[in-house]
Symmetry: D2
Subunit: 352 residues, 4 copies
Amino acid sequence: MIKAGIIGATGYAGGELVRILANHREVGIVWYGSRSYIDKKYYQVYQNMFRIVEDVCKDDNLAELAEQVDVIFTATPQGFLAGLLTEEILSKVKIVDLSADYRIKDVNVYEKWYGIEHKSPQFIAEAVYGLCEVNRSQITAQTRLVANPGCYTTCSILTAYPLVKEGVIDVDTLIVDAKSGTSGAGRGAKVPNLFCEVNENIKAYGVASHRHTPEIEEQLSYAGNCEVVINFTPHLVPMNRGILVTEYAKLKRNIDGTLLSWEEIRAVYDKYYADERFVRVLDKGICPETKWVEGSNYVDINFVIDERTGRVIMMGALDNLVKGAAGQAVQNMNLLFGLPEDEGLELVPCFP
Amino acid sequence: MIKAGIIGATGYAGGELVRILANHREVGIVWYGSRSYIDKKYYQVYQNMFRIVEDVCKDDNLAELAEQVDVIFTATPQGFLAGLLTEEILSKVKIVDLSADYRIKDVNVYEKWYGIEHKSPQFIAEAVYGLCEVNRSQITAQTRLVANPGCYTTCSILTAYPLVKEGVIDVDTLIVDAKSGTSGAGRGAKVPNLFCEVNENIKAYGVASHRHTPEIEEQLSYAGNCEVVINFTPHLVPMNRGILVTEYAKLKRNIDGTLLSWEEIRAVYDKYYADERFVRVLDKGICPETKWVEGSNYVDINFVIDERTGRVIMMGALDNLVKGAAGQAVQNMNLLFGLPEDEGLELVPCFP
Amino acid sequence: MIKAGIIGATGYAGGELVRILANHREVGIVWYGSRSYIDKKYYQVYQNMFRIVEDVCKDDNLAELAEQVDVIFTATPQGFLAGLLTEEILSKVKIVDLSADYRIKDVNVYEKWYGIEHKSPQFIAEAVYGLCEVNRSQITAQTRLVANPGCYTTCSILTAYPLVKEGVIDVDTLIVDAKSGTSGAGRGAKVPNLFCEVNENIKAYGVASHRHTPEIEEQLSYAGNCEVVINFTPHLVPMNRGILVTEYAKLKRNIDGTLLSWEEIRAVYDKYYADERFVRVLDKGICPETKWVEGSNYVDINFVIDERTGRVIMMGALDNLVKGAAGQAVQNMNLLFGLPEDEGLELVPCFP
Amino acid sequence: MIKAGIIGATGYAGGELVRILANHREVGIVWYGSRSYIDKKYYQVYQNMFRIVEDVCKDDNLAELAEQVDVIFTATPQGFLAGLLTEEILSKVKIVDLSADYRIKDVNVYEKWYGIEHKSPQFIAEAVYGLCEVNRSQITAQTRLVANPGCYTTCSILTAYPLVKEGVIDVDTLIVDAKSGTSGAGRGAKVPNLFCEVNENIKAYGVASHRHTPEIEEQLSYAGNCEVVINFTPHLVPMNRGILVTEYAKLKRNIDGTLLSWEEIRAVYDKYYADERFVRVLDKGICPETKWVEGSNYVDINFVIDERTGRVIMMGALDNLVKGAAGQAVQNMNLLFGLPEDEGLELVPCFP
């Protein structure tokens, strides 16, 4: 049995890790870290876990934790892990970090967008960006540190990845309009996240300034082997879970001026995703809906070609707490320990 | 592998059966019956099942189905199964009926409250009322027909059962005020179930006339060994899943006029539920919330004593599609086939 | 033009006062009190008021305010007004208090249920309980202090009032099961009021201990001329606005053992409400829904007789921010200044 | 008193017309047309109007109606009015048509996108496109037929109009990503509009094929004096009311390659909207939210410049049933009859 510890176990992403790992056959959680609820029973914070988890919450002691477990999940604010990580810790334990601390290779970009100093940039190079469908080969028994991708990021990248990789679209025209449920805002007690403020409302936020922008750009730049600069606009939707992205880009034209056919673009998607366990490219004409992936680790993707404008409209949907956070973290952990990639992730989407 | 067929597989309860059985280790669905969608891929009706279920929907042919499977789930309108059931069918296959056709022992009561003629009353006596926690001993390999309880009913009965059974409350004062999510209304295209009609709204309906009333009364009458006549008032709540019941009754007083203590009433609950896998009596002071059981087969129960009025307020919460329908149906099936009662039902509630 | 000041103008009830008074022909707001947002433009707190209100928020200076305005609305926490009120202030200005400070005549009851010391009990006797439909004759140009009723209270009392007043029901059996939208919980940044905690959920809270209980009991005791002790159970519903109460009581029987007829009970309601501008007793068979009164000052009421149990089930619905708070406060102000009772309150409910 | 008739009075837009006109000082409704509910009391369809509207619903007899009223609102399906309109009718009565029948000047475009034959194209030229802020001068006492703009269209056009009109953006790069509440889908009983299908879900629909596309394109083409072809992608959001559009376009660059400044673009908006009663260009940094305009006739607009991509992100929000339908229809009617443009439309947005 692999022993796991969670730091930040009482946030929404931490709670989802606990839910998923509760049915994982090879892993047991031995440390529920939550500075806010030390010595409180975990189920008293999340009553859904009553009679399922009997443990009490413990302090966020990374060093001590590294002695006791095989893998640590950090579902913590930006800067937390960067401020504590040491070579000694990494020599003892694998870490899957759900924060942004090691996602961006250029520390200057990180510091600019996040507005904080990075305290341990020496580990950035080593960290593997844990987007399994893209970087699977790098997530192995030798990997010590996985930077688990952001929720918006996972959805935005996977939706466009094959078309960028194959050079099918003009990346200078790429626009990502994203819509997220409210759990992505976390469990902090803030007025803008109150029920009455979110319910019956939709708004954009972080326009031209959201922190997931450089993360998307970096990964798509690797894919396209060119610099990608995009507009990314997140919106807050009155629902608990789910991210939907709608992406727009000009299709490159054939030499004769025609556009790629639907079948040709579909083939590009299939080249990368036909064998992927958790990416479902939908049947022609079906638009992804967040409800169809709720509670599961799936990403649903599809596209429409608009002959009138020469653009392709790509759409992707996932559950921000599963494939966008805890589920992908478990997927990464499975890869780290050589387990079947879908162990614990045989989650069937729940409808309605 | 036990072979199962579902009639009414594309209603919400049918869909939940498919979701639950998808992860059941001993059962496989071989017949997705849906008169409305014959020959259509099941996943085209419920896209959450894309890449999980490849089968097409078939007609509702009960007789043919009885030849092919070991167990049939009927998630059908009232009167459907009663109109088709025969001794020959029952001799070949076990049936778990999610409709009300065989729940009420007195056919006159059924016909009065449901307003339809019962076409096969000869099977009523044989049918076992499948409230597992109460009637477990009667649900065995010999049982042919299980009447799966209603959603409101399951919640209402289990919340009060121990106190009625032990004669702790005055049943003549029992009132059940129930609140349900909207999936209980089914997937029929009706104006009152439209998003804009349900959202931002709450109302009572079926006041003093809801069909689950006699079912609750009958079962509590067996428990209390006396005639129970109650007020049951359902309300429609703008959420997908979940039932909450708030029940009121006068506590019987001790000879000296005092009320039972909290500990004494708790002991009554524990007598019946301490070892139950799916009934969670919460810690003192914690009120059940539907969100804490969502997606799972749990019923959460608790109570408060009001010394001022001499009443006990009992509260219960469950997911109407799981413990209130498909989950309990699977629990019954597990009992029918001698499987572990929680096989396929190790569902951890999903929050948020 | 009557000059009004609001203390607590940036809470939800305060914001609703601003919305309603914006279209009031006889009143202008000259003081937007909000300790949290001093010197900030009011519309920067509530962007719906952009281009409608240009004023900045001011401190909560009751004494200074009394010099400047004709009427003060206090939409403040319990204890605030009681801690500041003086004879001098009351000699200068009329006050409509939306808090509970002067609602309960017995200061001991107030202090027990609210858990705070009352700092100015000398004004309790003078205060008029501002339930207009019941106490209209006491709300006059001579009245200095109006205790505006609570939201649950207004709905609970008005729904049962005629039957209690006329002695039609056995008050010892009266139970009030109430359901409220989330704006009733206020705009405080607390985890239980976050979108993800409230959405897709329903729960009871304050069971047998909610502070509106003694207020309901006191007023119904006056009506029935007897001591009324009830069970009152509030529930939190995932919607912004609206309160629905479902009330249960045994009907007293005629000497021959029969129950009152529907027409007789309807006549009792009509006796009190037929001429009321804001109370709508619905047609037979129609259950009140919160959506039908949203944004308006109406209370919708109806009842069902259950011959089986001998109980009457009464139902009432209102908008907790309008008739349950700001609307009723304006109705009281209209009475205080001899204006038409519905001035500014010709609000047509908004659907959907 | 101007006499008005409504055909389609029991749809959501029709109901909103009734709500708004209830407080209009110069107009009275004398005909509530609803083929589905003939002879039924109007309030029995919409209980919010109980005690406010006593009339019964009548048949949709356009010719008879033309004899009785001064203005007809048609809130009817596409093709209805086109199939019945005659010169005789138009000679007797003014018509504000909330359908698409006379919005598009090129009948071929109409027939292609709507898939129906236009039965009275002879009136298209005469019809004025009733986007008041753009075409006010054409909506006069002489106007007989107003084509009231679509909900998505009003929001999409007004948000981009000044920048297109002044040639500030490259219209070939214009993309409109729109999000709508569910009342826009109407009151038809269809499975996709059921509460459980919409709630906790977001999806795109009508991708590259939605009927509002050519309407937006035509109007923006007039504004820009060039052919505008756009991508327009609507999304369904789990809320009752509200449309938010997020629009993307490349800013044209100055000769020196620099972008227009925020102040310059703001000045362009102010040129067209500074004096508009119902268009609110928000303070810098404030993103429009649908909640802030709910129930009112406002359109809230703002923009962000992204120096990195050279794009401007424009955002607009309105209430689809008010400024997007009934409110704008009343605004048009006010213009037709020389009334103050905001008569009956002094609606303060309701929050929360």
